[in-house]
């Protein structure tokens, strides 16, 4: 079972993401956090396989979190963002994200993306 950390500042959405991912037997959510520093802290503590990362976060945004992930502690990252522009997505991938999904239209693909990313994630860890 793959461990997952969810980082999103929108509490109701974070709860629903945890609910959705938790319903899938392949994943267990070990932490859900509201900002960038908390995401880095959760990664240090839990060393998760996967990180579901919002880009618009308080204190440190998602791109800054990606920048600060070290090789030793680098879960496979699926970005789940409200920003739909390709430039932002390209920048996130450049900084190491495995996939970028748009909130709303991308929810249906999230579980598949996590499966796909966790496979490639294990290869890179």
């Amino acid at each position: 079972m793959k461990t997952v950390v969810i980082a999103d500042d929108e509490a109701p959405l974070r709860d629903l993401l945890a609910l959705m991912i938790g319903r899938d037997d392949r994943f267990t959510v070990v932490a859900d956090v509201p900002d960038g520093p908390a995401a880095l802290e959760a990664i240090t503590v839990h060393d998760p396989d996967l990180l579901v990362l919002d880009l618009s976060l308080p204190k440190l945004d998602g791109l800054e979190v990606l920048e600060r992930l070290t090789d030793r502690l680098r879960p496979a990252v699926v970005v789940l963002t409200g920003f739909a522009d390709p430039d932002t997505h390209a920048r996130a991938v450049e900084l190491g994200a495995a996939r970028c999904l748009v909130k709303g239209t991308g929810f249906a693909d999230l579980l598949a993306a996590l499966v796909e990313a966790s496979g490639s994630g294990e290869l890179t860890r």
Partner: protein, 332 residues
């Protein structure tokens, strides 16, 4: 008949005047005899009128210039008189002389010249300073509708200094088409003797096809009856400043758009995404709460944007809230 005192008065006057006067007689195509010079002229070659009288021009005047002087005599013989301005390296130093040579009878010539060295040097320095400051200067004789431009003014219009004759009309032709009427009106005000606006910004299109933004400041000088005599103008190239202002405005606009985008994202997109996911998961009550939050956030974003518009324009004008017509098929 001239009175008896006339010659004495002429000699006194000739000795006292700073005007350089010389009378010569051509004795060959390449030389002349100095018949008489006044004191100011003799000083140019560090001599006296008495020492120079009766000597050959080729003996007393620097050799490199003699041929040119003789050519001028020939020209004066042909046309009666000839005006000139020359720069000479003389025993008295470097001099700029502006003069006239007139042909007399019996191959004699009288030449008189002003020493304009100081004026030309002052002008040269002014040109240097105005070029350094990138300020063009012009003098506009309003009564005769003629103009003189500084070197920098020529450059601002895309010309080499002196490349074309300066004129108010040519200057106006170089105004940007969208600014030409405005500049034309300002020039008309000057012609009518009315004070122009202190400093006005225009765009100029140079002969070199470059567009420049300039601030033009005009000072009008009128006679006691208020009739315009001439106008002095200073033209400052502010192209770089305008470009920086434009860039800064674009940056400010981009920052505002980024702020609005984040406000819409955080307040509306996030909440609508929550609605979407809640409905997918069958969490109807959560979806309802998220819908309320999304609507409230969207209304707040719209209220903030309209407040900014009102702050900039003073009020929301009637008609500003009219719903835009949408293409058919996109809903109402």
């Amino acid at each position: 008949m001239r009175p008896a005192w006339w010659v004495e008065a002429f000699v006194e006057l000739a000795d006292a005047t700073p005007l350089r006067i010389a009378v010569v007689r051509r004795i060959a195509p390449d030389d002349a005899i100095v018949e008489w010079v006044n004191r100011a002229t003799a000083q140019l070659v560090q001599s006296t009128p008495e020492e120079l009288a009766g000597r050959r021009l080729s003996e007393v005047y620097p050799q490199p210039y003699v041929a040119e002087v003789m050519e001028r005599y020939a020209e004066a013989r042909e046309h009666g008189r000839v005006s000139y301005e020359v720069v000479r390296e003389l025993p008295a130093g470097r001099r700029t002389l502006s003069g006239v040579t007139i042909a007399l009878a019996d191959e004699r010539y009288v030449a008189f010249a002003y020493d304009v060295t100081a004026e030309r040097e002052a002008r040269r320095r002014l040109e240097q300073v105005t070029s350094l400051a990138e300020v063009g200067v012009f003098h506009w004789n309003v009564a005769e509708d003629t103009a003189a431009w500084s070197d920098e003014t020529y450059r601002l219009l895309g010309y080499e200094p002196g490349e074309v004759g300066a004129s108010p009309e040519l200057f106006l032709q170089h105004a940007h088409p969208d600014d030409r009427d405005r500049l034309g009106d300002a020039m008309e005000r000057v012609r009518e003797g009315r004070a122009p606006a202190p400093t006005v910004r225009y765009r100029l299109l140079g002969r070199d096809e470059r567009q420049r933004a300039v601030d033009i400041r005009i000072q009008l000088v009128a006679d006691e009856d208020g009739r315009p005599l001439y106008a002095l103008g200073a033209i400052r190239d502010v192209t770089d400043e305008v470009e920086l202002e434009r860039h800064a405005a674009l940056v400010r606009r981009a920052e505002e758009q980024q702020r609005t985008a984040l406000q819409v994202h955080d307040g509306v997109v996030q909440a609508l995404s929550t609605v979407w996911l809640a409905l997918d998961l069958g969490e109807v009550e959560r979806a309802r709460r998220a819908t309320v939050a999304a609507t409230s956030s969207a209304q707040q974003v719209v209220a903030d944007l309209l407040s900014e518009v009102a702050a900039m324009h003073g009020e929301i004008a009637p008609g500003a809230l009219r719903v835009r017509t949408r293409p058919e098929g996109n809903g109402s």
